[in-house]
Symmetry: C2
Subunit: 450 residues, 2 copies
């Protein structure tokens, strides 16, 4: 007999948590589609040359090979995707002629990373990505459209106070140019250090920058800038005053526009914040950048990040394809929300109604009731094991049904049933012809209260 | 620049076909849930020892390894699942104590097979599985519940005439015992040959059985049995007459019961047929077996197969877990239905409404309209590139929107907009305060016609 034990880094849910997880993905999907984003689903597998085109470190990639293959399957050929952005770039480049731009897609799917297994780090996890890609150009208003959708989703999920933090790479870059840091390598390093400012002490921050050759004065200037506590409007005013250089001004101008559009699109002021400390390590981003924090659970880090990029698919095509995208890291977020009780599902059923079967000889009658309810779109399970009513009610309680339909022989003969409210224990008797309507009304009332 | 070409056996859709594919999966999911089945999602990856526990041929399995791993990742350890049944068996055995039985789950997800690539054979494809697992016992009524759900799904998909063919392994086995074929190996071989009777000539059928040592007389008997053309009721009568042996009678009795319950649950008689030629090669099945044919596209083979098994997880646990399951092979079915025009989606949008933006200086006004519609749950895209109206209408036509909202400066000043029906070209002018209601009414009317 094969031994079973969990594979670390490849988590799975029990039914009740799976139901929550799916409901959450469903809600996210609906908000993506409501703004006109289309579904995309690419194979889990890409060519290794595709995945490593951007110089990604290959030790994070899972290659695939046939266990006992001996024809045609080169072990150096195929691998599992480690994110949804490289597949998007490959897809857009490959199907460029058949896509309509701006191309708006969302993609909700697992990705795989050959990480060393450790707590909270998954080797398979879901990403929820949303991007708009332009052909040669892309209006900056899309930079506002995406965080607004994220705002709506997190509000609807009712996950407590969150902040979408927003910045612009050009501001940071302009600032660093103004400090005479002109080498791309050094700027990348400084951005990396700024990005982790919340995780390290001020002294460490300073000493890391000194190692890069920055003067004390320049470091103080940076620190003052980064540590300011200002409202969104104060930030814009503060940033507009100094004419640092063209790049800086471009960044400030873009940021001001994006924030203006976010307000028009209805995002509430307290849910977004200009934050010059976010830099997003990847040099992939070229304009707006985002990170999102759950204020009560800072240990989760950013639960939704992304930004504007000048060229999605430069490794695959000569076309210039600017875009902007955001990605929700759902696999860490949802278990955390379940753990702290924000997302809660005590039921192990997607159907609210169970039909009990007291008399196995009258199974025809019970099956007819099941057909009746299902035809009326009432999600219904029917209990079919030959057990007594007490055992069936115990099963109903454990799974968390809201209503039980109960009928003995006499009731079936009279075309009547009893409906028991499983939360209150109150029972009502009804004719079969009124059953659907009664159940619909009772469910409506109960689910509002739930 | 990395070259891109498709990887054979790993297909992907363009947006309009992806929209159809997702809609179809959504419909299937809803019917599964309507009968009280719960979602399951296991990781794509299982231990190789788990996947090969039943002696599956390993050349079909894709192992995974870290491209540049040097710690802890044994290349002989992990692999991609090749079906959803082995993960189900592992899951139920592993979480046995936390599951509530009968355990009803559905699982819609991709599987991977290291096949030699060839036309119509995929190396990644989706399965839609539905199973009920009992703890020690499982009512035979579930054998009727599953094909009824499949019937409802295929009727709702409007895919033309299909037949759910049903048989019972005990009938076939009893018959073969009665021919004094008692060795399990020979019976397995005979079942395999019966299973492919539609693909081979009668002469080949005979000669293959002769090779196994069957007499001409026995073969004629089998052929007569298999080639009978009877209605469902005639079959039951015919099968009930001879008292072949206990196993045969058990099979006939089960078949009669299952068919009786299917009728009560509302499956129409013309959509299912007793068919003694289906044998399902796998010796995994122990009772009811199903196959489903699209009558107009027999070349697709069975699009939905499954059956009853005595013990789901015997390789992983000592518990006896009988079950019954069905699996829809969606990855071959949907492209075929698209190809022949049964499933059709000429649109590349999930949103029916587009807001055009004639005057970039008045973008605030257009964004407010977008917010208005989205808040009212009207799926809406807003066109944001600085192009003239003609270009925007061309975009709207290509993507297949139903309604376009159009407003120039004057109209925005007066809080009015024009709604253009993109199918008829007819335009109506409306105040902003009536916009939501008007659009809802127009969509209702258009989508009924669509």
């Amino acid at each position: 007999m094969a031994k079973i034990n969990s594979i670390s880094g490849f988590p799975e849910f029990l039914p009740n948590d799976q139901i929550i997880f799916n409901k959450t993905l469903e809600l996210i999907k609906n908000y993506f589609e409501k703004s006109g984003f289309m579904p995309l689903d690419t194979p889990a597998v890409e060519r290794i040359t595709t995945l490593t085109a951007k110089g990604i470190e290959s030790h994070e990639i899972y290659g695939i090979y046939r266990l006992a293959g001996n024809e045609g399957d080169n072990k150096k050929d195929l691998a599992l995707r480690f994110d949804l952005t490289v597949p998007l770039a490959r897809y857009v480049a490959q199907h460029y002629d058949k896509l309509i731009f701006p191309y708006r897609r969302y993609h909700i799917a697992p990705v795989w990373r050959g990480e060393r297994a450790q707590a909270g780090r998954y080797r398979q996890f879901y990403q929820c990505d949303i991007d708009v890609i332009g052909d040669g150009e892309l209006s900056i208003i899309h930079d506002a459209e995406l965080p607004v959708i994220i705002f709506q989703i997190f509000k609807a999920l009712n996950i407590g106070k969150f902040t979408i933090r927003i910045n612009n790479r050009n501001i940071l870059r302009g600032l660093l140019f103004s400090l005479n840091l002109e080498s791309g390598e050094i700027i990348k390093e400084v951005l990396r250090i700024i990005d982790k400012i919340e995780k390290i002490s001020t002294n460490n921050f300073k000493s890391e920058l000194i190692k890069l050759g920055l003067s004390e004065k320049k470091i103080e200037f940076l620190l003052e800038f980064i540590n300011k506590k200002l409202s969104n409007s104060e930030w814009i005013n503060y940033l507009k005053t100094p004419k640092v250089n063209e790049e800086f001004s471009k960044g400030v101008d873009e940021l001001e526009q994006v924030i203006g559009y976010m307000r028009i699109l209805g995002i509430e002021e307290e849910y977004f914040a200009i934050d010059p400390t976010i830099a997003r390590g990847l040099d992939y981003y070229t304009g707006t950048i985002y990170e999102t924090r759950l204020e009560e659970y800072p240990e989760l880090g950013s639960i939704c990040s992304g930004g504007r990029y000048a060229n999605l698919a430069e490794n695959f095509t000569n076309k210039e394809l600017p875009g902007v995208g955001l990605s929700i890291g759902i696999s860490r977020l949802i278990p955390k929300l379940i753990e702290v009780g924000i997302l809660e599902n005590k039921v192990s059923t997607v159907a609210p109604v169970i039909i009990t079967t007291q008399n196995q000889n009258r199974i025809k009658g019970y099956l007819e009731i099941a057909s009746l309810l299902r035809t009326a779109d009432i999600y219904t399970e029917i209990y079919l094991q030959p057990k007594n009513l007490a055992a069936q009610m115990k099963y109903a309680g454990k799974k968390g049904f809201l209503l039980a339909v109960i009928a003995d022989e006499l009731e079936l003969d009279e075309n009547r049933v009893v409906i028991r409210n499983l939360l209150t224990g109150i029972q009502v008797s009804t004719s079969k012809s009124n059953l659907v309507e009664n159940i619909k009304n009772m469910l409506k009332e109960m689910q509002v209260k739930n």
